[in-house]
């Protein structure tokens, strides 16, 4: 029999999109500006219905493109409003220019993002190419394994963004989570509202008693300092994320960190992965553990800021690590998560684990327990010396001539 973790929690069956919209209803931002796109459409569709029905007091701005959606959200946030949006894939791509403006202006916008492949060829299914492409845009990035995490992450993101003065996006894997109905525990409106608190911006454009300029030209004299401050804000955001997570656990009972360790502390082989595949990999870890194989998992929740020292410390003892990327970089080098992991290990003086890179699941391509088992089998061979670790990107479940 399922029980709630929080004494006042309620168990509901909802899809990833439905719970993200539910979190937005409870957060009740002042402004939401959005343009619908598959597979994130339902989030803003459901939210706009809340607005139309008078369930929330939020102002909904229906725009003609995602560039305008992000622009309107930036305008609202700069004016002093708590502002949110939602998008996916091509929509995020069209926001590109404005993503950097949101972070450069240090606006605490929260975005519900559903991970989907990038065209061409056109594809509506789940991979993480869209947000991985935005990894250097100065946005905090929080990934969700399932609908529960998506709901909890949205609530936490609001506080994180406002404390860090950084825009923050929360993702789910397209269709796999966005359209999958699961059991989610939701919390009462009043408790969510109390947790996020009232938004009181330090400075805002509609504060006519303390007028100021935002977004002015910034040349050789100060631009560099402002960009340094942005980079430093991202580094400092790690503690803010952890602080909000601690408060969240105290309030609602669910524990979150920068990443999740699953059977990792005594693991000899481990997979690093982001999103829904972590859940599938946990099934494989359980099976391997039953057979006496010391397999573990590290699931990254917060990809930006990247937990450099923390991850290096927690992977130090592992003999062989496979980093699974649901996005490729097309760089001739390695996929994004692998590059960050290897740089983190090396910079921290951790050089003993053998680390290999797998790209999987592009365009929603199936990733099964069998595929993940085969990766752990390769890691076993690497630790025994039967196989040399690959020095290039390996691909899972793709037809290569």
């Amino acid at each position: 029999m399922i029980k709630t973790v929080y004494s006042k929690g309620k168990l509901v069956a909802k899809t990833g999109n439905e719970v993200m919209a539910e979190a937005m209803r409870q957060i009740e931002p002042d402004v939401v500006a959005a343009y619908p796109i598959t597979p994130a459409t339902e989030i803003v569709q459901i939210f706009s219905q809340f607005v139309a029905d008078g369930i929330v007091k939020s102002e909904y701005v229906a725009v003609e493109s995602e560039h305008s959606a992000m622009s309107a959200t930036i305008g609202a946030s700069a004016a002093g409003a708590r502002a949110m949006t939602g998008t996916s894939s091509q929509g995020l791509s069209l926001m590109w220019e404005m993503l950097y403006i949101a972070s450069g202006l240090r606006l605490p916008i929260v975005m519900a993002e559903v991970n989907r492949a990038i065209s061409a060829p056109i594809n509506i299914h789940g991979d993480q190419s869209d947000t991985m492409g935005a990894r250097d845009a100065g946005w905090i990035q929080i990934y969700s394994e399932n609908s529960q995490e998506a709901y909890d992450n949205m609530i936490q993101a609001t506080r994180i963004a406002e404390k860090a003065k950084l825009p923050t996006l929360v993702t789910t894997d397209g269709f796999i989570i966005s359209h999958c109905m699961e059991v989610v525990e939701t919390y009462p409106d009043a408790d969510v509202k109390a947790f996020i608190g009232k938004y009181e911006p330090e400075r805002y454009l509609l504060d006519i008693k303390r007028p100021y300029t935002l977004g002015s030209i910034d040349l050789q004299d100060y631009y560099f300092e402002h960009r340094y401050q942005l980079a430093q804000a991202m580094r400092d955001a790690k503690d803010i994320v952890l602080d909000v997570a601690e408060n969240f656990e105290k309030t609602f009972g669910r524990k979150y960190g920068l990443y999740e360790k699953y059977m990792l502390d005594d693991a000899e082989i481990a997979i690093v992965v982001i999103g829904s595949t972590a859940g599938t990999a946990k099934v494989v870890v359980n099976e391997l553990r039953e057979k006496g194989v010391k397999a573990g998992l590290l699931k990254i929740r917060v990809y930006r800021p990247f937990p450099v020292e923390e991850i290096a410390k927690d992977l130090m003892h592992v003999k062989a690590v496979a980093v699974m990327d649901r996005a490729d970089s097309y760089s001739g080098a390695f996929a994004p998560v692998y590059s960050d992991i290897v740089a983190s290990l090396y910079a921290s003086g951790v050089t003993s684990p053998k680390v290999v890179n797998y790209v999987y699941g592009l365009g929603g391509r199936e990733i099964s327990t069998g595929h993940i088992t085969s990766i752990y089998e390769t890691l076993c061979k690497i630790t025994s010396g039967a196989e040399k670790p690959s020095n290039k990107v390996e691909y899972i479940n793709v037809r290569i001539k």
């Binding site: 069956a13 299914h125 999958c180 109905m181 699961e182 059991v183 599938t280 099934v283 199936e366 327990t369």
Partner: protein, 192 residues
């Protein structure tokens, strides 16, 4: 995969409610205190084209998020799919197939080339027409599935469905009664 986990694959045609059936089934099973998943297979969305949807139910939290390839139950909403779609794929020797049909289980088993003990039949279309007034086989098939699975409480399922439908069709009480009657009848009439 946990031994206690049950996996279901629904086969229907676009517009027949295969997705709705999976979602409704998941919601009602949650009401009986189990963990659930329901997800559709997304392809080109055309009325009448073969579609699939899926369920997982378990006593334990469900973390797996890959597709279902070896379902314990395949539920076929449209009998014509038997001719055109490999509905028994991955069913194995212990899987069960529940078909909306007027044919007998041995006749269907012959067509599907599987053992007759694995086949359950119910004329859900006729039940739907007689109870709901339209050939919408998805709700009666829910009742048939609950019966064949055997470990779910039909009264709990009926009660929860009543709550869900009451919220949705407040102004059409006849729809609620018809749907509930269809679930109950299919539960009683499905046979091996």
């Amino acid at each position: 995969m946990s031994a206690k986990m049950i996996e279901v694959r629904w086969h229907g045609r676009g517009g027949q409610g295969a997705k709705t059936a999976a979602l409704l089934f998941a919601e009602t099973v949650l009401a009986t205190g189990k963990y659930i998943q329901a997800f559709p297979e997304y392809g080109p969305e055309r009325m009448g084209a073969p579609v699939q949807s899926f369920n997982r139910i378990s006593e334990d939290p469900i973390t797996i998020h890959s597709g279902i390839t070896n379902p314990d139950y395949a539920v076929i909403l449209d009998p014509s799919l038997i001719e055109s779609v490999p509905v028994t794929d991955g069913i194995g020797k212990n899987g069960k197939v529940i078909v909306n049909t007027s044919f007998s289980s041995s006749q269907i088993a012959h067509k599907l080339s599987i053992d007759a003990s694995q086949v359950f039949v119910v004329n859900a279309s006729r039940i739907a027409v007689e109870t709901i007034g339209k050939d919408i086989p998805n709700t009666p098939m829910l009742g048939a599935l609950v019966k064949v699975i055997g470990t779910l409480n039909i009264n709990g399922v009926l009660e929860d469905t009543k709550v869900k439908l009451t919220a949705k069709f407040r102004h059409k009480p006849e729809v609620i009664e018809g749907n509930l009657a269809s679930i109950k009848r299919a539960f009683d009439e499905v046979k091996n």
